[in-house]
């Protein structure tokens, strides 16, 4: 089981802030494919990966990063702090 978190418009498009997912995905990209296949709202959120960022266990990562040992995946748009 892995915790998947969504922030900003990703959260709004999917309609929930977090969920626990049972997945066999080996990489972030595979997890994204799996989520896209679920429902329209996931397709809407993951339509353009260049406008998304991902963090694995609270550290920024790339979409080809492996998920082995990861407990928390977060998807969000580019950050706008400051």
């Amino acid at each position: 089981m892995i915790d998947v978190l969504y922030f900003a418009w990703v959260r709004e498009r999917i309609g929930l802030p977090r969920e626990r997912i049972e997945t066999g995905a080996a990489t972030v990209a595979e997890l994204v494919e799996e989520l896209r296949g679920r429902e329209e709202r996931y397709q809407a959120a993951f339509a353009d990966l260049t406008s998304l960022r991902v963090a694995l266990d609270q550290e920024l990562a790339s979409f080809d990063a492996p998920l082995a040992g990861v407990r928390e995946v977060a998807f969000f748009p580019p950050m706008t702090g400051g």
Binding site: F7, A8, A55, Q58, E59, P78, T80, G81
Partner: protein, 146 residues
């Protein structure tokens, strides 16, 4: 080094005074404060979302890098989240160094990195509705100078 992520407003004067009082040996203190713009009166406010599990960690990493790189005596970062009205302070940084060049450079570095590497997302609220603020390519480009 103090990092605060909070919904509550902060007292800019008191923060800078307390920070300055604690930096024995420093010759320069620089502070920067970011405010909510009103965009010519069209904005009614701003809502800032963040990733609680990651925010403190990300900011600490950025601040530690600044301290090491410019040999800072100390650094302070306060960043707010939640609903803010135009004119309210969103965040502040303060840096203390032996000389002003290092204090200024470190403050700019902190701002550049907080903008695109600290997990905050801003949403502008107006009479016409709400809109997420999009990150600019120039924000990402700003990191390349460091």
């Amino acid at each position: 080094m103090r990092i605060a992520v909070q919904a509550e407003p902060f007292d800019l004067g008191a923060e800078v005074s307390a920070f300055t009082a604690g930096v024995r040996g420093a010759g320069a203190v620089v502070s920067f404060t970011g405010l909510v713009r009103d965009e010519g009166g069209s904005l009614s406010g701003m809502e800032i979302e963040h990733y609680p599990g990651m925010t403190g960690k990300a900011i600490s990493g950025i601040a530690a890098e600044a301290v090491a790189r410019w040999n800072l005596v100390d650094a302070l970062v306060i960043h707010r989240y939640g609903k803010l009205a135009p004119g309210e302070a969103i965040m502040m940084v303060a840096t203390a160094a032996l000389h002003r060049g290092d204090a200024f450079a470190a403050a700019e570095y902190l701002m550049d990195y907080l903008k695109s590497r600290a997990p905050f997302w801003k949403k502008e609220l107006s009479a016409g509705g709400e809109a997420w603020v999009a990150a600019k390519d120039s924000d990402e480009d700003a990191l390349k100078r460091w």
